[in-house]
């Protein structure tokens, strides 16, 4: 499929790789501004407490301190992620709800002074009972963490599609299993950072390590009260996001208010410890699922109950609690599905969106159940999947339409690529092979706030001379390759060479882009880029046609040259004029065809600067039921993985020997980048499965707020990953493309757990699978 493209589907190097390889790429902490101040935040040491009094006088008196702000100095406007759940204020007004909750902020001439000033702020607290688990928070008589949310229920979902009880009655095999995962972290290597600049025009510019400049801009405008025309957010290079950088942070807000208070730029960073205190990462999930099938393996019904530990604020949680149910609607035909989910407030850092958003651990249990059922039926797990998979054109019971779905191709690719048939059932004790599948949205069907807004706009300008193209997009390049994708699609759609396209991104000045979340950028921003490029191309060809006095349908641009079909046309007048304009220059265009350089120059001379504009929003999607929006998308990526493990049965250590991964991304825009996203997803899934867990002590403090104690995989822990790219050609995607960045994590944990069960016979119901827990499981099985 890639053969018909000139730029798409190749392995061009990333646009930003040279800057990153040489240390020239600027991240927020690399930036300094004249007269810059350093900010620091006072955070609550209590998990739950009333704030009786805040005395900042000693802090204010410290030499070098330029501003100290608390709740009384900033609007009490509530904000958050979803307007239906705005439950945060910049600073605690009457109480603090987790260890880390923000009470005050300081700007000073250097970081040391700012930190000292923070230590001089005196706060009177009245500690309240801290609710550290969903059980504690849901218990009778538990205090309410938020007055507006009785019983600490932040979100509750009850959905039924079809008739589950009736369907279960027809099932030959029904099994019920539970699964408990723990709160986890994104583990981005760059901690959050922000620099706010408030200039003499009254304009606020926030430089932030964010995935979502657009949403941050809106939050800032809403909370500061500044007109949105005076608020802009610029995202420089970002060192990874994975979800926890998808909302306005206390750094974004405090630095802005401090910049406004002092009239000077204010830089604020999180230490690694503070990254953990901030959270906004993977919820902890408890799932109980009942799955019913017929004896020939046909899936009939699923009951899914979920209790989520949400932390002290909503963040993305209202969407997450829906996703934990809706993301099981595919990729198998499942006509009856019931979901009851609840997200519980607890006195810990808020949980938010993290790669795979709500679907990861639901998938982990579901795919394990499929394996267990396959075993009971005496069926190969691969065969059970193949028997039930949906096809392109199918619609799930919860109204998610699979406009393309290369699920079969993915499963067969990993089955063959891993030599599954030679290994499954033939490995010695302690060695195992397991598989799983998954799918994910290519961008949420609706923006987070109710609006008819376009999801992405892209504007480009063709250089008046030289044939280069400047593309402006507010899209967020966070390492996933957004700029490279935009350049590639623009080049393909316009017909120019990759090297002639330059992308500027990440600033709200450039347009609207909802940001890098829900795996949307390739499909949505890519669409807008394609439209912008086609717009510019049409304008240039129209001018060329008029100049040459031929019909525009005879003209095309390919690989930087103008292709004219039909009878030969004399291009010398245009070339002669171009050369005359560049008398004395070397490097003049030659060859039989007009170059894009000449054509675009001509268009400028006739019309003025050529700008192309594109805007994309999905059509209305999904069903009419409550929460139908969550899970909708113009397209769905899907994948399958095979994981091979060796379990040391005496120590409980699990070593992953190999991963075979196949992902249907519709059409790879850049093969290397698609593989890179696949491999990164696998690595993160293995980390979450084997090592990762944010731990709390009895006072609600994070016990392991470091990358030594919160263990993301090292290079020694990840095996070779074989990445197989499947291209089903998505009709709703630009050039057939759809997502890869988040869907790639879906099969990993269940494939790992299924491999472990194959190796040692233990069904793993709790993550992470640290050696201790593995050994306990092995011994428990021995005793039976």
């Amino acid at each position: 499929m890639s053969k018909q493209f000139d730029v798409i589907g190749k392995r061009f190097p990333r646009k930003d790789a040279p800057a990153k390889a040489t240390g020239q790429a600027q991240f927020v902490d690399d930036m300094v501004f004249p007269d810059m101040l350093w900010g620091a935040i006072l955070q609550s040491p209590h998990a739950h407490a009333r704030v009786l009094n805040v005395d900042t006088s000693k802090a204010q008196a410290l030499p070098g301190v330029k501003a100290v702000i608390t709740a009384k100095d900033v609007p009490g406007t509530k904000y958050g992620v979803s307007p239906a759940r705005y439950d945060e204020t910049v600073f605690a007004i009457d109480k603090v709800r987790y260890v880390g909750d923000e009470i005050a902020a300081v700007a000073a001439v250097d970081l040391e002074t700012a930190l000292e000033a923070v230590s001089l702020i005196e706060v009177e607290y009245e500690p309240l009972p801290a609710l550290l688990t969903p059980q504690e928070a849901l218990a009778e008589g538990a205090p309410w963490i938020h007055d507006e949310f009785p019983g600490n229920i932040g979100g509750e979902v009850h959905q039924e599609f079809g008739d589950v009880e009736k369907a279960l009655a027809q099932c030959d095999i029904i099994r019920t299993d539970t699964f408990q995962s723990k709160r986890q972290d994104g583990g981005a290597i760059e901690p959050h950072a922000a620099i706010a600049v408030y200039d003499l025009d009254g304009r606020l510019t926030l430089h932030s390590a964010t995935q979502v400049p657009h949403y941050v801009q809106r939050t800032l405008a809403m909370v500061t009260g500044l007109p949105i025309s005076k608020v802009r957010v610029i995202k420089p290079y970002v060192g990874g996001g994975f979800g926890p950088k998808s909302e306005a942070t206390p750094l974004d807000l405090c630095s802005s208010f401090l910049a406004m208070a002092t009239g000077r730029p204010v830089k604020m960073l999180y230490t690694r410890e503070q990254v953990f205190l901030h959270g906004r990462a993977r919820h902890g999930y408890f799932h109980e699922m009942t799955l019913g099938v017929k004896k020939d393996g046909t899936l009939l019904a699923l009951k899914n109950r979920c209790v989520m530990d949400g932390g002290a604020y909503s963040s993305f949680g209202i969407a997450t609690v829906y996703y934990a149910g809706s993301l099981l609607g595919a990729p198998y035909k499942l006509p009856n599905m019931k979901y009851d989910g609840v997200r519980v407030y607890t006195n810990k850092p808020a949980c938010g969106a993290q790669r795979g958003h709500g679907g990861v651990h639901a998938r982990a249990l579901f795919e394990q159940q499929l394996d267990l059922i396959a075993e009971e039926l005496g069926m190969d797990p691969v065969e059970l999947r193949l028997k039930n998979i949906m096809e392109t054109g199918d619609v799930t019971c919860n109204d998610l339409a699979m406009s393309s779905l290369g699920m079969k191709e993915c499963i067969e690719a990993v089955r063959d690529g891993s030599s599954w048939k030679n290994k499954r059932g033939k490995l010695p004790p302690g060695k195992g092979i397991g598989m799983a599948s998954g799918f994910f949205v290519s961008g949420a069907g609706y923006p987070i706030y109710r609006s008819e807004t376009y999801h992405s706009t892209v504007n480009l300008k063709v250089q008046e001379d030289g044939g280069g193209v400047e593309v402006l997009t507010a899209a967020a390049e966070i390492g996933q390759g957004a700029e490279t994708m935009v350049a590639t699609i623009t080049a393909e759609a316009l017909g120019v060479n990759y090297n002639d396209v330059h992308v500027q991104s990440g600033s709200t000045d450039f347009g609207v882009d909802l940001g890098a979340y829900s795996s949307r950028t390739t499909l949505m921003t890519g669409h807008a880029a394609k439209l912008a490029a086609e717009d510019a191309k049409q304008q240039i060809l129209a001018e060329l046609a008029a100049e040459l006095e031929i019909d525009v349908s005879r003209l095309d641009i390919k690989r930087g040259e103008v292709i004219i079909s039909g009878e030969p046309v004399d291009i010398t007048p245009i070339r002669t004029m171009y050369i005359k304009e560049h008398r004395g220059w070397n490097n003049m265009p030659e060859g039989d065809n007009l170059t894009f350089r000449e054509a675009s120059r001509l268009a400028f001379l006739r019309k003025g600067s050529i700008t192309g504009s594109g805007a994309y929003k999905p059509p209305p999607l999904g069903g009419k039921f409550k929460g139908a929006a969550v899970g909708t998308s113009p397209a769905y990526g899907c994948s399958a993985q095979v994981v091979e493990v060796t379990v040391d049965m005496e120590t409980g250590q699990v070593f992953v020997d190999k991963v075979t991964d196949a992902h249907d991304c519709g059409q790879a825009i850049n093969l290397t980048q698609v593989e890179g996203q696949m491999e990164g997803s696998v690595s993160m899934g293995l980390g979450e499965g084997l090592f990762e867990q944010v731990k709390f002590d009895a006072e609600g403090r994070v016990e392991n707020p470091s990358l030594g104690d919160y263990r993301i995989p090292t290079i020694m822990d990840i095996p070779n990953i074989q990445s197989l790219v499947i291209e089903s050609g998505e009709p709703n995607g630009p050039f057939g493309a759809k997502e890869v960045g988040e869907g790639g994590i879906m099969p990993t944990i269940p494939a790992l757990l299924n491999a472990v069960r194959n190796a040692v016979g233990v069904q793993v119901s709790e993550l992470p699978l640290i050696p201790e827990n593995m050994l306990l499981g092995i011994q428990a099985l021995k005793k039976k």
Partner: protein, 160 residues
């Protein structure tokens, strides 16, 4: 706490600085010398993105007082390329997709350089051991291993 005048040898240049004893090498490189390619990810040696070479060996600059770097040759990522000519490791990292967000890349590339200087033909296991002090969350390490292997081939070819 008094400032001392020290001379650091960084990327082949002598740099004179006035520095307090409690400044780490990471801070001095990034703030005083404005060499921001060396990153700050954790400050306590857990992530490796502050890695620099000291006399050719990889060290965490966040755990090194600037004072302790006196008398040694420090190489940062900015010192790797020769003007516009990138080091083979940089070329391979770029070409083979071993860079995504780029935050771990300077440290990763420098650790790779130290590895290859010591062991010009590493096995895959040796590559992984050599880079075991550099965390990456984006790539899954697959293309990093391939890039180091590729660069090793290029460097051996060039020197033969």
């Amino acid at each position: 706490m008094s400032k001392h005048q020290i001379t650091l040898m960084v990327n082949g240049l002598e740099r004179e600085l006035l520095v307090e004893p409690n400044r780490t090498l990471t801070q001095v490189l990034r703030e005083d010398l404005r060499l921001t390619g060396t990153k700050h990810g954790c400050g306590i040696g857990d992530c490796g993105c502050c890695t620099v070479l000291m006399d050719g060996q990889a060290v965490n600059s966040c755990l090194l007082l600037a004072f302790e770097a006196v008398g040694h040759e420090i190489t940062t990522i900015e010192g790797l390329a020769d003007g516009n000519r990138l080091h083979p490791l940089q070329d391979s990292f770029i070409e083979l997709g071993a860079i995504q967000c780029g935050f771990c890349s300077p440290g990763m590339i420098l650790s790779s350089k130290a590895l290859l200087a010591n062991n010009p033909s590493p096995t895959e296991e040796e590559i992984r051991m050599g880079l075991s002090g550099n965390l990456c969350r984006c790539t899954g390490y697959q293309k990093i291993v391939e890039a180091v292997h590729d660069a090793a081939q290029k460097m051996k070819g060039a020197s033969s």
